[in-house]
């Protein structure tokens, strides 16, 4: 049960009661708990209530976000970290390093950590060297950029750009590891979907 997070709906029912609507007794308990508890869980014979968080940080778009600490923190110290609405592990916010980024399997979490570091700083830090670039089919004005990694002869990194802009007009970038057997950016992009490069070249529209 959402507790205080249901304040809008709980207030709506309270207002109805205040103007004389009857039959709302069933929400009495939920309303009382909503005043004192955050999310809570009811089980047979036992209920788990949580306290309200001490703080909540958001970006201007209203998404959970804090560049310097927890996005939400509860009085006992339990916290969650978030980057523009994407929930991330603590290290992404407090200590994003190239080593941790390389060890992270989730491409979205890597993107958040690299954005926090800054793409330019990250590219310098890991020593990415551009070897080839071409237009991204179906993604006007964007390129596919293939890079080598200094300490890993088996892997190349393909930098790609989202087909859809963000709220502020910028586009998300992603670094995708591909095998060094890929000889061109187009081959590398096709490899990520396991299709023929000639088919990838036919892409007319990316969103």
């Amino acid at each position: 049960v959402w507790g205080q997070w249901d304040a809008g709906w709980l207030g709506w029912t309270a207002a109805h009661r205040a103007i004389g609507v009857t039959g709302l007794d069933v929400v009495d308990g939920i309303q009382q708990i909503g005043r004192i508890s955050g999310m809570w869980w009811a089980r047979r014979g036992v209920a788990v209530l949580t306290s309200h968080p001490d703080h909540i940080h958001q970006d201007p778009a209203g998404r959970l976000h804090n560049e310097t600490g927890a996005a939400m923190r509860w009085p006992d110290g339990w916290s969650i970290w978030a980057w523009h609405g994407r929930r991330v592990p603590e290290w992404v916010i407090t200590d994003p390093t190239p080593e941790r980024i390389a060890a992270e399997a989730n491409v979205e979490i890597r993107r958040c950590a690299i954005e926090h570091m800054g793409w330019d700083r990250w590219i310098d830090a890991v020593g990415l060297r551009p070897i080839a670039s071409c237009d991204d089919p179906g993604n006007p004005g964007q390129t596919l950029d293939l890079h080598t990694l200094p300490d890993d002869p088996d892997t190349l990194v393909l930098l790609v750009t989202n087909g859809s802009p963000e709220r502020d007009g910028t586009r998300r970038r992603y670094g995708l590891p591909v095998p060094a057997t890929c000889r061109t950016p187009l081959e590398a992009a096709a490899w990520t979907y396991d299709i023929d490069p000639t088919l990838y070249a036919q892409i007319a529209r990316r969103t």
């Binding site: 609405g85 994407r86 929930r87 989730n106 491409v107 979205e108 979490i109 179906g138 890993d152 088996d154 892997t155 989202n162 087909g163 859809s164 802009p165 963000e166 709220r167 995708l176 590891p177 591909v178 095998p179 490899w191 990520t192 979907y193 396991d194 299709i195 088919l199 990838y200 036919q202 892409i203 007319a204 529209r205 990316r206 969103t207």
Partner: protein, 142 residues
Amino acid sequence: MTMTLTDIETLAGRECYGHVRELLADVEVPVLGGPQPQGDLLAVPTDRHHDDSAVDVPRAGVDIIEAVNGGHAHTLIAPDGGATVQVRRPTEADDLVLAVIECTRPVYLLHAEHGATGLAAGRWEIRGQREFDAAEARRVAD
């Protein structure tokens, strides 16, 4: 029948982000017969048929890729019916085909951050994207 993003959102009963709607709300969504990526998915024409687990695609759509990690679902919508989809759960790392679609009318893929993608009548594979893991590749090769 041509469809705008707003038409498709109305059918699906869900809306894209405001900044996506600002750009695209009243623009006709192109229906194409070639490969089209949407985010990290790629729709590609295929010769493959789906199996017996395929289901009809409702006009209001069905999520073929669920929302995970605070992300968003990819929803498949068949405004004129005539479409079936097999949703797959591949277990092998190099099996990237997440869904197989057969349609006699255009279908649309909708995503909150990417808007709508129109797929012409035919057979389609929806492929996920993979990444290379040198350590894993070396392990497999050993």
